[in-house]
Symmetry: C2
Subunit: 556 residues, 2 copies
């Protein structure tokens, strides 16, 4: 099969003006960024508030292998397939992070015949949203250090500044740094560090607000550290939320592009899936619901992490009512969770699939806990055998799961017709009514236990001494009625990535609790979470080039 980039080059993009027109947008409601990218004004949401919403479909997955199971590809392919069935469908997905493109592998936003275009632009600077977030984040950091330097009226303890800096670059050397060296004129000396931009709280909150006013309020709420007297200090104490919001004036508008089959795609925001909620912006999803009959969106990792946060954080916040979910499964992930080592995943093994199916069934139970009907998308890979695919279908039937084989990578929308029909029928016949799994008014301990036990299947939850103290602090500061954002490995239901399959009888350890007061959730960390990746020995940057005609090569 052709490479993603060869496929992209052969595609015929429509002018973005035509895509905008097909969506019913007036000229003054969107702005072009080049000929094939646009921003839709956030005001359109307010204008269309009495317009009925389309149906929201969440694409989630079983626990992935480290190579990924093609969730974005299924998301894009399903939107294309729905269009082929004459439904006005829109894909709503995350913006990719620039930094990792130059690390282990190149960029991507879908793949094969289910990708969004123009791929190079989307993977590089796109419309500048991430750069705006980086700038706002680092301006705040500079303003905090300037406050320390200029007399520190707020009495901020330099050792308890919690606000770090960010870059959209994989740069391990910046994880932990000392700043303000070289004498008094260079500021207050202290330890600091950089995360990758997708880990910025500004990224998370931009993806959870609905307009410029909410954006500014959320920025004002952000915690930046503590005083010597242990009083929390927020952006509003510095009074610079307006300046930060000004830097985000364009980033708040969602981006419109198209798939390789000219299906509209709204791509906006991309918060981390561990220390944040891992899905595209609420504004983008709401906009798509106003403009489309069906909206296909995705959440990071498996249902334990991505769907849980999508339902409990994003849907709760935006009062979204998901109509159905797609759970992506692959033969290789089923074999992986059946205990087959990574190097042997291409060898036919029906018994391993049977064993690994317990993992998929657990994800299906999670989705059902939220009263959302689902279809399993069996996402075909070239190494899958017919016997394996038939075996998965048989197991699904035994469990009463509706399953659809998808070949969207190789065939585009045509490869997703079965899934599209299955989803439409499932939505039509469902009488379920979505509800989050916990109530925000419950105690922090209760909320954490509900997620760990009802979603992950843990037997017990334990807290480190640090986390216990932080729980008490959260209560004391009045932060207890926020939703929980769990940071956990995506490879296991437990906090140990090597415990694959449908692990039972395990204990989850909460080791750290970080308040994201702007985004309005409490991050509970389990295990080690890396917020600034490094580059490998032979970084992908070595393969990327710009040819004489100004075209990027080797990026994906």
């Amino acid at each position: 099969m052709k490479s993603d980039s060869a496929i992209a080059q052969e595609a015929t993009m429509l002018p973005i003006a035509m895509i905008a027109k097909q969506l019913g947008l007036a000229d003054e409601e969107w702005e072009p960024y080049g000929r094939y990218k646009a921003k839709i004004h956030v005001d359109v949401l307010e204008k269309m508030k009495n317009h009925p919403d389309g149906k929201l479909i969440l694409v989630t997955a079983m626990s992935p292998t480290p190579a990924g199971e093609g969730k974005s590809t299924v998301t894009i392919g399903l939107a294309q397939a729905l269009n082929k069935l004459s439904q006005r469908a829109i894909a709503a997905i995350r913006e990719p992070s620039l930094g990792p493109n130059f690390g282990l592998k190149g960029g991507a936003a879908g793949g094969g015949y289910s990708q969004v275009l123009p791929m190079s632009d989307i993977n590089l600077h796109f419309t500048g949203d991430f750069h705006a977030i980086t700038t706002a984040h680092n301006l705040l950091a500079a303003l905090i250090d300037n406050h320390l330097y200029q007399g520190n009226e707020l009495h901020i303890d330099p050792d308890r500044v919690t606000w770090r800096r960010v870059l959209d670059i994989n740069d391990r050397s910046l994880r932990q740094v000392a700043i303000g060296l070289g004498g008094r004129g260079n500021g207050v000396t202290r330890e600091a560090g950089f995360d990758i931009t997708v880990a910025s709280e500004i990224m998370a909150l931009l993806c959870l607000v609905e307009n410029a006013t909410e954006l500014k309020d959320a920025l004002a709420r952000m915690l930046i550290g503590y005083t010597y007297e242990n009083v929390p200090v927020t952006v509003s104490d510095l009074g610079v939320q307006g300046a930060l919001a000004a830097l985000l004036k364009d980033a708040i508008h969602p981006n419109l592009v198209q798939t390789i089959e000219n299906t509209p795609a709204i791509i906006h925001g991309g918060p981390f899936g561990n220390i944040a909620h891992g899905c595209n912006s609420l504004i983008a999803t709401q906009m798509a619901l106003k403009l489309g009959e069906y909206v296909v969106t995705e959440a990071g990792f498996g249902a334990d992490l991505g769907a849980e946060k999508f339902f409990d954080i994003k849907c709760r916040r935006g009062q979204l009512e998901p109509s159905a979910a797609v759970i992506v499964a692959t033969v290789r992930a089923l074999k992986y969770h059946g205990g087959i080592p990574k190097k042997d995943l291409t060898i036919e093994d029906l018994a391993a699939i049977t064993r690994g199916f317990a993992n998929l069934a657990h994800h299906a139970r999670i989705v059902s806990e939220y009263h959302v009907p689902f279809v399993i998308a069996l996402n075909r890979f070239p190494t899958d055998t017919d016997a394996e695919l038939a075996h998965v279908e048989k197991l699904c039937a035994e469990h009463g799961f509706r399953v659809a084989l998808t070949e969207v990578f190789a065939k585009g929308g045509a490869g997703g017709m079965e899934l599209a029909r299955a989803i439409m029928e499932t939505i039509d016949h469902s009488e379920m009514s979505f509800a989050p799994i916990y109530d925000v008014e419950q105690s922090l301990l209760n909320k954490i236990e509900i997620i760990c036990k009802k979603v992950y299947g843990a037997r017990t939850v334990q807290f480190t001494d640090v986390a216990k103290r932080q729980l008490a602090d959260c209560d004391r500061h009045g932060w207890s009625n926020l939703p929980i954002c769990m940071a956990k490995t995506p490879y296991s239901f437990s906090d140990n990535p090597s415990l694959i399959g449908d692990v039972q009888e395990f204990t989850i350890t909460i080791r750290d609790i970080r308040p994201s007061l702007g985004a309005e959730f409490l991050v509970c960390l389990t295990g080690d979470i890396m917020t600034m990746p490094g580059l490998p020995k032979h970084p992908h940057a070595l393969k990327v080039d710009l040819d004489e005609s100004g075209q990027v090569t080797g990026l994906f």
Copy 2:
């Protein structure tokens, strides 16, 4: 008089598509960024290479006061005035840096009735050029540190890495930092630092190349440090020039906007005026020369710094033939250089003007050294008295200088008609032929002495021991035939900012020489040059806001 922002809000912008069309650009030759900004494809230069060039007018100035003398405003006003005289004139100017907008004062690109629009956009992220440079610069830094961490095959001495990091933020705390703390997994521990993005060598070289191929070659040449054996290491040794160029694929295209009177303005690049050459990109100037009958451009600071570098670095590189120069003078700058303290500059003082005139006359001599005819633009400020203005005109007449009173801030193009007519006549009657002041084949010592003596008027040039060693190193490494880029205070012809007027009999001390091998010049530093500004006690960020309708307020 109304504020800049009130004036901007009352202006009627034309759709950028109309401005592009007026310039004769076909639809496929430019791309919109919103409705009022565009990028012109760099390929247009190649397509139009046989098209005759317009006339190039450089706007420079006498030694400024710290408040600035309105050079950008005169540049924009003169382009507007030429248009009023039915000449197709284009302003070619620098992109403003984002960081300083949140520091001492807000943004600007001209002012009053001579400004470019949309002002907020131009002062914030504009079309993302600076963010692309920041990203490419920091990706290179991450790749260097990753090389050190992954075995250091090139044998780079961690203590002799010369490549720093950049942010478009005023952040003094990052001037000097220690990176790679926290153990082996976080990279090699070493001292490092951040500059502001406009100080990036990538900014400088982007402004001196003519196409994507030259861009990649220039990136490949950049010096990043030295091996343990004292051998220079360049980007080509790492093999990542392609990745850096890919990040600059859009940044290489110049930006098209309009002035408040709908005169086209090409705004592209903005290198520092001290450690770099301080003018907009060569591509922008060349593009403007192909599209316009007159191109009005500017260079940083006074003629000693800005015009010298414009002539000796940029014009030499691009084989540009400037037709004339405008030297901006103000009553307040004349009084300042006549010895009047800043607080008394609004008091009428003809004697001080007479004394300060020597400074202006010196700048006029500098321009004449390059065989470029000039007109003095006497840029009117509200506090100037009629007697003072008449006195300046009398002194100009005595010196044989053509002078034109400009009121472009208060009156727009209408306030620059006298200057426009004077410049057109000067060009028509001139028989001069531009030539740089030194030959690149001369020795480094000779070239430095020519600039210091013939341009600045120094009696002697001395070198620190470090600089002497660096001179010898440059010879040894074969870098001697590069042009010189002097980093010197703009407030004096000497390297001491307090020696105002037309200082005589002074000595210049060269204390450091830094090779910019990608940009192809050797930076000679005199005095202390700050490459990362700090924020003041009450930063302008406190005044900037985003209102409910999504409009930025308080920025300028």
